[in-house]
Symmetry: D2
Subunit: 147 residues, 4 copies
Amino acid sequence: MRDAYPVWSLVPTRWNDNDIYGHVNNVIHYAAMDTVINRWMIEEGILDLTDPEAPIGLCVESGCRYLASVEYPDVLALGLRIARLGTSSVTWEVGMLRDRDDEPIAEGRFVHVFVDPVTRRPTPLPDPMRTVLDTLVSPPAAVEEDT
Amino acid sequence: MRDAYPVWSLVPTRWNDNDIYGHVNNVIHYAAMDTVINRWMIEEGILDLTDPEAPIGLCVESGCRYLASVEYPDVLALGLRIARLGTSSVTWEVGMLRDRDDEPIAEGRFVHVFVDPVTRRPTPLPDPMRTVLDTLVSPPAAVEEDT
Amino acid sequence: MRDAYPVWSLVPTRWNDNDIYGHVNNVIHYAAMDTVINRWMIEEGILDLTDPEAPIGLCVESGCRYLASVEYPDVLALGLRIARLGTSSVTWEVGMLRDRDDEPIAEGRFVHVFVDPVTRRPTPLPDPMRTVLDTLVSPPAAVEEDT
Amino acid sequence: MRDAYPVWSLVPTRWNDNDIYGHVNNVIHYAAMDTVINRWMIEEGILDLTDPEAPIGLCVESGCRYLASVEYPDVLALGLRIARLGTSSVTWEVGMLRDRDDEPIAEGRFVHVFVDPVTRRPTPLPDPMRTVLDTLVSPPAAVEEDT
């Protein structure tokens, strides 16, 4: 699974991520996806939370298949790739492992539509952003049209 | 949308549900689904968190399509129905509205597999539980076999 | 305890509020305080999240004593009063009950300093806001000076 | 501040830790304290979440003073020391920094009472646990009696 995603990032679990059943609650996997996707874009310089005019990414669809449980204080490792790069949208695929033993935990999907921060209407991905996102497209991108 | 789900339940948003973009973060919709599904089962007497031998429901798959934003202090209304009742599994469908204006917010999907609390292996839904779950099956259930 | 606070507000617990010990995690009480304090101010018209120029309340200090446990799906009832109204600051006191049986759960304290939204420097409470806040001061306010 | 606490531990912020004001919400500091205190005890072998008979630590009091804001994707660094070791209780003091620039963020306080996992009544700290906890007492412990 490590080979299937070009970028990996860690999310340590927190005490309260465990629910009454003693494992990390299903909701946390989505918080982890949101965290690593945005963190990667910030680190790559294509998302700037302090710029009030830059496009922002809204989640229009997400999903997750759970393969095994994980427990605090385990550390989650999340692998990122992009399955589809549209005019305004990015379809992320996220592989999740337990970092200490490479046990596959979950496979997630997260669809961003980038919008104007004021009108909240879809806006084409700026070219510099598209160039960076392209490096995660796997297999090699067929750029398609969408909203 | 109100007619498409037989049971409705409210989840008031919390201050910190709003993220930096000023709307309820996509993760919260999953927390809300988890909350109303389990709350309904508890109220119906088919989930007892204090019984250490009763089957527990693990989430093996979930997903959500987001239709519109919602902001704290709005109240979410969630409608429940069951799309499929398997031997051990329950596929929930959840419609989400902004309670104050009936604006559709999201459509979710949440698949439970019921397992033995100790071995965490799938276990058939007990008959009394199945009877209650059957009341939410929509359209009328074709009981199918699965794990 | 119901008599000791002039305003009460409900916060239903969520599935994932329960931690591995089967009760609502200590962190949630703070999320509940933040939720009801801000919700009350919004309902009273003295906090407007959509006005980019209105003062915002930052938490500079908080605390909580825990008296008893509470479990999802219980509903928390939170009572609000103001112990001290400064030039820019508000010291909230929050009583928390289990709504179904009036069992005292916790006693919290939450200190807001209102600041200019841009400079984030303390700003005097606007008069209309002070008038509304005054209705929660208990016992009758001695308005004191602070930052 | 780095010198004032013998043990330090990191908690990376998550996307949804930022609230509508664009900084990490005050509630998150408590989640971070809970996470590092328990994680340290687990790593030191004095807290075992899988042992159904071992004493568990319940939070009976907590508090926090906020000194500066912190923003996702910043990493929090938390320093731990023990201000007081009672018969059953541990009073933790937690210093919080922004890891990238050592900016003091907050000072927290967190009081655990250890209880029997079944009766939930206070139980004396087992000797091996006390020995390990003693290493964090600062200044050198005067062991006092309490519940």
